[in-house]
């Protein structure tokens, strides 16, 4: 017998695979740009108190509705609050809602979808049909309805958007499970004495992480826009606490005199959402198993 003939690639595999993925990612300028913009927003959100030139509610009654100047880079609003500072502070609400609501949706939806897909039967039928019904509602309508029931606050907006994103994640997790449960390593784990929980969460879940990651990068911008919408409608963050949606709401009354009050938070929303989407697209390309090997 020839043992040598069976030998393959050299050692240190994990580092090599990581290096490969990094190289493939860096070759996509759009994705890299998306990542940079996302990073900037996250940094701004975390370090707003230090980065913002003024406090979130600090007023300067000597310059109301001021044009951009060296003192106020993006001008001021009707109460003399620095717009740049408020965009920075507003990033906190947006990022918080974006990440937390997506995490909430995943924590609820992924186990539900996996269990449905693994056991099939009537449990699956009920969950899948319910998901279809919920998906028939537009995401924002669902979130607005929930937020209206829960009452306005940042926490409730997060809950509403998180729950609103659940059906999408259930469908993804269930679909992945339906495919992955047919893999040969599932019966292999069964004959090695693994119980169902071990098989579902230890063996199958890690195999769908890349899909879930991509879905998350699509859900986060949805939640960011959703937060803006809810705050704009008065169902999210309450003034005077800054949030991009609140700023848009405030800007409404001054659209004719000072359209920049709406433009800057609007641009922030567009860039944040776009950056996450572009990053998600890039990740999907990089992590696609068909091109990995």
């Amino acid at each position: 017998m020839s043992v040598a003939a069976e030998t393959t690639s050299p050692a240190d595999p994990r580092a090599r695979r990581r290096r490969l993925l990094r190289k493939r990612f860096l070759r996509r300028p759009m994705a890299v740009g998306g990542l940079l913009v996302v990073a900037v927003f996250v940094v701004v959100a975390i370090f707003a108190p230090w980065l913002a030139p003024y406090g979130a509610g600090a007023t300067d009654f000597n310059s109301l509705l001021a044009h951009p100047s060296s003192k106020h880079l993006l001008g001021t609003d009707e109460l003399g609050r620095d717009v740049l500072s408020r965009v920075f502070w507003g990033a906190r609400a947006s990022m918080q809602v974006g990440f937390l609501s997506t995490m909430l949706a995943m924590v609820i939806a992924v186990p539900v979808g996996m269990v449905a897909g693994y056991y099939r039967g009537w449990v699956d039928t009920v969950i899948a049909r319910l998901t279809d019904v919920l998906l028939a509602f537009p995401f924002l309508i669902l979130a607005v309805g929930l937020a209206a029931i829960l009452g306005p606050s940042l926490l409730n907006a997060t809950l509403a958007l998180g729950v609103g994103a659940v059906p999408g994640f259930v469908r993804i997790a269930r679909g992945e499970m339906l495919a992955l449960r047919e893999e040969d390593y599932v019966p292999a784990a069964i004959v090695n004495g693994a119980n169902d929980a071990t098989i579902i969460f230890r063996h199958i879940l890690p195999n769908m992480t890349s899909t879930l990651l991509v879905q998350a990068t699509v859900t986060i911008p949805g939640a960011i826009v959703g937060e803006a919408v809810l705050s704009f409608l008065g169902l999210g963050v309450q003034p005077p606490t800054p949030s991009w949606g609140v700023m848009l709401q405030d800007a409404q009354s001054y659209l004719a005199q000072a359209p920049r009050l709406a433009i800057f938070p609007g641009l922030a929303i567009v860039f944040a959402a776009l950056a996450f989407n572009v990053l998600g697209d890039g990740l999907r390309d990089v992590l696609d198993p068909r091109t990995t090997r």
Partner: protein
């Protein structure tokens, strides 16, 4: 005489499909002694894989399984799923045909072997890793220290099958069921795996059920052979006796279908195929299932089902007209 390690009594498996029952295995009985290698041979669709999967209850819910599978005096078919999990991988291990896909792609092989050890033997992470290394060495994987941290896709098919065998042997099981362990591999690597199986039996005393459609494999490794046809036992005997004195015309047909390029007086012998196809298993047979393909078939074969008879010492045949030619 000590009772056998594994005793299968009247095992029947039928699948409840949309167009009725399919009788995949029909009242099959056999035994396995400690340290024995039993080969189960037959064509595709004869029920050999279904039999092996029924032993560890791996069949889907559409399968109706009857009979008894006694392991150490306990009927595996009646065990609670909790007790069953304690048997699976610990007492009875299973090696699949497809080494390419039977390992989880996102974990290193060391982790996967270690997981079985930690589950059944409660080993610590470090101890499991040490034992996994030992096992890789046992299945003769070169440079096992390095392979431990490899992912499955970095290994060749033969290496992966060795890893699967290492995993199956992790808890020192009493029975190893190997379902076509060499079918998906290159011929040279097949020989290595068979060598390994022999070695395992010798060194660890593990009893092995070897499922294959390749009589050459059986001749190489098995002590006893069970020839299956259409879900039933056609012939059973010691391996030497089977090859020297085959009795069932089906067995003789199988032996005739083995390529032997270096035999004879230089003249190339045409391979003998068995005419016809495996019969449908939708209805329970009322005749010998092989009758339609058999030159010895007569009125009796076509109207009655042959029962198993002992024609030579420890040599059983289900045929009305057994004989060597």
């Amino acid at each position: 005489m000590t009772p056998p390690l594994l005793e299968v009594e009247d095992l029947s498996v039928r699948f409840d499909t949309d167009d009725g029952f399919v009788h995949a295995v029909d009242r099959l009985s056999f035994t396995l002694d400690t340290g024995e290698v039993l080969g189960i041979v037959g064509e595709s669709g004869c029920g050999k894989s279904v039999t092996s999967m029924a032993l560890v209850r791996l069949l889907p819910e559409t399968a109706v399984v009857g009979g008894r599978v006694l392991f150490d005096g306990v009927d595996l078919l009646g065990l609670s799923s909790r007790r069953l999990r304690q048997v699976r991988g610990r007492q009875i291990s299973y090696v699949f045909q497809e080494p390419m896909t039977s390992l989880n792609p996102v974990f290193t092989v060391g982790y996967q072997i270690g997981e079985v050890l930690r589950r059944h033997l409660g080993l610590s992470r470090a101890a499991a890793r040490d034992r996994a290394l030992e096992l890789l060495r046992l299945v003769r994987i070169p440079a096992p220290e390095r392979r431990l941290d490899d992912y499955p896709h970095q290994l060749s098919g033969g290496m992966r099958q060795r890893v699967m065998i290492a995993m199956a042997l992790a808890c020192d099981p009493k029975v190893l069921v190997a379902d076509e362990p060499t079918t998906a591999l290159d011929v040279t690597i097949q020989a290595g795996i068979l060598d390994l199986m022999r070695d395992i039996r010798e060194r660890l005393g593990t009893a092995i059920i070897l499922i294959t459609h390749n009589l050459g494999v059986v001749a190489d490794v098995a002590d006893r052979v069970l020839v299956m046809y259409a879900g039933r036992k056609a012939e059973e005997s010691g391996v030497d006796d089977l090859f020297a004195h085959p009795q069932h015309p089906y067995t003789i047909g199988l032996l005739g279908a083995i390529p032997r390029p270096y035999e004879g007086e230089g003249a190339r012998r045409r391979l003998q195929e068995i005419p016809g196809r495996v019969p449908s298993l939708r209805v329970l047979p009322t005749a010998c299932a092989f009758a339609d393909r058999c030159s010895r078939a007569d009125e009796l074969s076509r109207t009655q089902v042959p029962e198993l008879r002992e024609v030579r010492p420890r040599h059983f045949v289900a045929c009305f007209h057994p004989g060597e030619t």
